[in-house]
Amino acid sequence: MNNLIKKFRCVNVKSVIAVRHVETNANLLANCIEIRNNNPRNLELMTIARKPEGYTLDNPRSGINYWNKLVVLQTKRSVEAQIHHFRNGPVIKVSSSDWCLRKFLYRTYDVAAYANIGRILAQRCLESGITQIHCNIESERSRKHKVLLSALKKGGLILSEPKTYKHKFAWHMKKSLKPWTV
């Protein structure tokens, strides 16, 4: 079993390998030197990827320690809820002035608008493979935010992200469970 365990390299590691002449699947696996998962979201799903930790003097509650975060932008005319990735910026946007939502609303910035934005955002997130998001909005401050967050929760989103997995070396006292093996 031990000799079967091969090294799986990180996405960024680049190395050139010679493609050998192989015919059967068993040969293919025996000659496999390197395998790479190019999926940029894979390490985040496996909770190995790093989150931005900020600088030494940064406030830890300043809300920068995340992979995906909920951002709510309110203007005089409409409300827009977005999912921001720490590197790629806004990924999913739902605005109350979108035709697919505006058509059914009385006003674009009332409580009903917030509730329906939450429902649609939760659906789009789950369809886009985002099930857990970071959220530093305190729901007690306003009724509208409270309604939005409860709609997101009801839609199946989890409003907290898992911690990054920290690898424990052989001499550490306690074992850490690898989340992707469970």
Partner: protein, 397 residues
């Protein structure tokens, strides 16, 4: 002395005074760049070199005059609708999600699907510097059972055992048009990390009748290897200008030799760029599950591939002869050969085990048993840790 005073007086600005930073590394704070600036500089891409090309259909501007007029009219109607007003104040408006989604697909969806596809690096891995807007909504359903019908959206996770059989694919099209459907994965190729596996290839599809298309490569369920995580499985629908001859890609069916499934969408697109235009896109993510073990053994005739993430090795200071305030046993073990340590622990474990007898039951209160107090302290702590399963022993139990 006079010359030194003159020198001091001649420097007017603060920045030009030379300050000796004896205890700091690098340039003084006025000259050095911040980490943010340095990262921005590293990640900067020259727009003259790294520009992207649209290889798909042009998006029609959906905000046309009729649409704008209808929008204004309906907004006005809603504002004068007293029933809707009452519902809004009671927070009882429940927008029908299916209807809303259908309107979304007709209006802004291509932009947003493009955003999500970029987030998953789809265009970069399939086409390099090219992209397209998925203007045709593709509905891909895996018909696992009557109750469970997982649908492929934009990166949602579907287990491999649910995707055993070829899915049903639906889209709206002109019955006289011809289409090509491709399902590929750029992740976890065994022969070369830079190429893909083709999981399904149906060419010359008349209209939206996928079953009557020419199946060039048959469907293979997702086979992500154990330990490499979540792989992307990408369905792309291409529109053909004419009937195409795909005989060079045709494989003996069922195609179970993985080398035959090696695929590069970039080369395929380069060859047929005059006849094919990408129009639809959906993709899902899939990780290893236990049903794949049997599939690898019986169908693909290979061992179950097992991979592990290669974590960064810890930095160890160069060893010294007399390490101060370090427990000598732990300190010296860090610099020993890991294999030798493994062997010793394994031998110690096997020594306790009898081949025909049950192992001794675990102690209920392990530290209630006395330890010989004449032993050295490092050995006593090692024995306590061994009983509690702490330290290195945790890896061998």
């Amino acid at each position: 002395m006079a010359s030194r005073i003159f020198k001091l007086l001649s420097t007017t600005s603060v920045n030009s005074i030379q300050v000796r930073h004896k205890f700091s590394r690098g340039k003084p704070p006025t000259l050095a760049r911040s980490l943010k600036q340095r990262i921005a500089e590293l990640e900067h891409k020259d727009p003259a070199v790294h520009y992207q090309v649209n290889i798909g259909f042009k998006l029609s501007n959906y905000v046309d005059k009729d649409y704008k007029a209808a929008y204004k009219k309906l907004v006005k109607e809603n504002l004068h609708n007293t029933d809707l007003e009452k519902l809004a104040y009671a927070n009882k408006i429940n927008v029908d999600l299916d209807e809303s989604k259908q309107i979304w697909l007709d209006t802004t969806a291509p932009y947003q699907i493009y955003n999500v596809a970029n987030y998953y690096g789809i265009y970069k891995d399939l086409y390099g510097d090219a992209y397209f807007y998925p203007i045709i909504p593709l509905t891909v359903d895996y018909l696992y059972s009557n109750d469970i019908v997982p649908r492929v959206h934009r990166g949602n996770i579907i287990q491999s055992y649910l995707a055993k059989e070829a899915p049903s694919v639906k889209y709206f099209s002109n019955p006289n048009s011809l289409w090509t459907l491709l399902c590929t994965t750029p992740d976890g190729n065994f022969s070369d990390p830079n190429i893909e596996y083709c999981h399904w290839f149906v060419g010359n599809i008349p209209g939206n009748d996928v079953a009557n298309g020419e199946q060039i490569i048959d469907y293979l369920r997702p086979i992500p290897a154990q330990g490499i995580g979540f792989c992307r499985y990408i369905f792309v629908l291409y529109k053909q200008n004419t009937k195409l001859d795909f005989s060079e890609y045709k494989k003996e069916q069922p195609c179970l030799n993985l080398v035959d499934r090696n695929w590069k969408t970039y080369d395929f697109m380069l060859k047929h760029q005059n006849d094919l235009t990408p129009a639809g896109l959906t993709f899902f993510q899939c990780a290893y599950d236990n049903t794949l073990k049997n599939f690898y053994h019986t169908v693909l005739n290979m061992e179950n591939p097992l991979f592990e993430y290669d974590f960064v090795k810890p930095y160890l200071k160069p060893p010294v002869w007399f390490p101060k305030r370090q427990p000598f046993n732990i300190y010296m073990d860090r610099y020993r050969d890991e294999k030798q340590i493994n062997k010793e622990y394994l031998l110690r474990k096997l020594k306790k085990q009898h081949p025909f007898k049950f192992p001794d039951p675990a102690l209920k209160y392990p530290n209630a048993h006395a330890i010989d107090q004449n032993l050295p302290s490092w050995l006593k702590t090692e024995m306590v840790n061994e009983r509690l399963g702490l330290g290195r022993i945790k890896n061998y139990e």
